[in-house]
């Protein structure tokens, strides 16, 4: 069990850092604008992240498995560790970074090290969603902003009543965003461990309560929740004011837009519904919640006037698409080499 926990620790660390940073994308604007208390945000966020991970985390994890099925626990540990180290190092260097992009780079790094082929069609699909993610969030935000502006103007709702509705909306949208974050990003945290999950099914009287993968995702979800409680407060309090000065209503729009984007790239139900209607479905891929938030904020900026757009932010996102996976892939390759040749661990079968 200790060995299992040791090998899972890199994923748990990644989960903790996701909780500390990415949870701020969901509730940061609400806490930053002082519309929702941190304690409430942390509780709702933790509960719904875990729910999203356990209930709807399979889709995006499955796509990661198709990119590269890391078939040894040592390899999975190293891939997750490489992603975590890359995220940490790039954050320290103040470079744009996303956990989703780091883990993809690490998996490709493992593929190269293990001599396994990388499915380029899956990889291109994943990279395509990285570009699509902020654009889609921006489009959602533009639409929602236009509708909300008209609605607020026409409804003649009192300033205080608008405040009350916005608070409620932020809490509900935050819960939805947290659920989507759990569903979409659990693949980053625990995706590489899926083929080598060390857990048995959790059964009660022969009835499977949680499958082995769900149990793995539950552990990952708990690590994210731990990150939310221990480290996300400061990030939440600054995220609202760092990027753009948001009003509570625009904060709500940002949360809904980014939550929607995370949801459509994670929901198997939506995928099936679109397929049944004969429509092309969105690929189930872990995407960056930070970039979804930036996309949504930029979308609002575009509606408010083109001069509001900070092009430097756009350049940093594009830079992150290239630098993060390449750095994580390189780190993963080097660490796998050491793991195999110095620590004599099996990293690939």
């Amino acid at each position: 069990m200790i060995t299992v926990l040791f090998f899972l620790s890199s994923g748990l660390f990644l989960g903790w850092s996701l909780g500390a940073n990415d949870a701020a994308n969901v509730f940061g604007t609400a806490v930053g604008t002082k519309m929702v208390r941190f304690r409430t945000a942390a509780l709702v966020c933790s509960v719904f992240v875990i729910l999203g991970a356990v209930v709807a985390g399979h889709g995006a994890a499955h796509t990661l498995g198709r990119l590269g099925s890391v078939n040894a626990l040592g390899g999975a540990f190293t891939a997750a560790f490489a992603a975590a180290v890359s995220v940490l190092a790039m954050t320290r260097l103040k470079l744009p970074v996303s956990t989703s992009q780091a883990i993809i780079g690490a998996i490709v790094g493992w593929n190269i090290f293990a001599g396994k082929p990388t499915d380029l069609s899956v990889l291109s699909k994943i990279v395509g969603t990285w570009v699509l993610c902020p654009i889609l969030a921006g489009v959602f935000a533009m639409g929602l902003f236009t509708v909300s502006e008209r609605l607020v103007r026409k409804s003649r709702v009192h300033l205080f009543m608008l405040d009350a509705w916005t608070r409620l909306g932020l809490l509900l949208a935050g819960a939805f965003g947290a659920f989507s974050l759990g569903a979409n990003n659990i693949a980053n945290v625990m995706g590489v461990f899926v083929p080598v999950t060390p857990f048995p099914d959790l059964t009660v009287n022969g009835y499977v309560l949680l499958s082995d993968v769900e149990l793995l995702f539950l552990v990952g979800g708990l690590a994210i929740a731990c990150g939310v409680y221990t480290y996300s407060r400061r990030v939440m309090e600054t995220v609202g004011s760092d990027l753009f000065r948001l009003s509570p209503v625009t904060a709500l729009i940002v949360v809904i837009s980014s939550g929607l984007v995370l949801f459509i790239f994670a929901s198997q139900g939506l995928e099936q519904a679109l397929h049944s209607l004969g429509l092309p479905a969105f690929p189930l891929v872990p995407v960056s919640s930070s970039q979804a938030v930036v996309g949504a904020v930029l979308g609002i900026g575009m509606v408010k006037g083109i001069h509001n757009i900070r092009y430097i932010v756009l350049c940093r996102i594009c830079l992150g698409w290239v630098v993060t996976p390449v750095a994580a892939g390189l780190v993963c390759w080097v660490l796998l080499f050491f793991m195999q040749n110095v620590f004599m661990q099996i990293v690939a079968k």
Binding site: T33, L159, F160
Partner: protein
């Protein structure tokens, strides 16, 4: 829901506060008219009424301010709302001071100045009334704020002109021989015009606050 019940209660208090400001403006106007009609007893009644309204407005303002802070409501525009409430409360304070001064000093307004004083009272009252309308619009429909603000500016400008006119008549006319009475006329003209200046101060704050309120 508890949140919505408390919000409705607060909205009610704000409404009552601005009803009080509106009523105080009306009481001030009628009080001055009674004074100009030389009905000192009815003026005294208005002074008493104004004292009650001022106390009521003060306690409402304090209660609203306390609730806004303790419940952490409207964090983005809380400062604007508080400064609007305080500036609106100042209008009542000035109106009360004016009526009290008239009641105590009972200055003798010569017939030649009565009409100008009546017009000045009307202009100041209109400025205060439009100020209340502008503030109510701020809470419900910000695009209407500017319409009312422009009217406040108009009446304030009118009041300034009438104030000048009274001062000129008081100092250049033949109605008074004593300097003290000329100065007393100037004092009351300034006090009366000051009500529209206070309304203008609220309007200035509103103009900025309305821009900030756009989502």
């Amino acid at each position: 829901m508890k949140l919505f019940d408390k919000t409705r209660q607060l909205i009610e208090e704000i409404e009552v506060f601005y009803d009080t400001v509106s009523e105080a403006a009306l009481v001030c106007k009628t009080g001055i008219e009674y004074f100009l009609d030389r009905e000192p007893l009815r003026l005294s009644e208005r002074v008493q009424q104004m004292n009650d309204l001022e106390n009521q407005a003060d306690s409402l303002r304090r209660s609203i301010e306390h609730k806004l802070y303790s419940r952490m409501l409207i964090p983005d525009v809380r400062g604007d709302v508080l400064s609007l409430l305080e500036a609106s409360d100042n209008v009542i304070d000035w109106a009360k001071k004016l009526l009290t001064a008239l009641d105590i000093e009972q200055p003798q307004i010569p017939d030649a100045l009565i009409k100008s004083f009546r017009e000045l009272t009307g202009a100041s009252y209109n400025a205060m009334d439009e100020m209340v309308r502008a503030t109510r619009s701020y809470f419900y429909e910000t695009e209407m704020v500017n319409d009312h603000i422009n009217k406040v500016y108009f009446y304030e400008h009118e009041a300034d002109k009438l104030e000048d006119q009274i001062k000129r008549k008081a100092f250049r006319g033949e109605e008074f021989t004593e300097l003290s009475r000329r100065v007393q006329m100037r004092y009351f003209a300034e006090r009366l015009a000051n009500l529209s200046d206070q309304a203008e101060a609220v309007a200035n704050r509103l103009a900025i606050a309305a821009i900030k309120r756009s989502i």
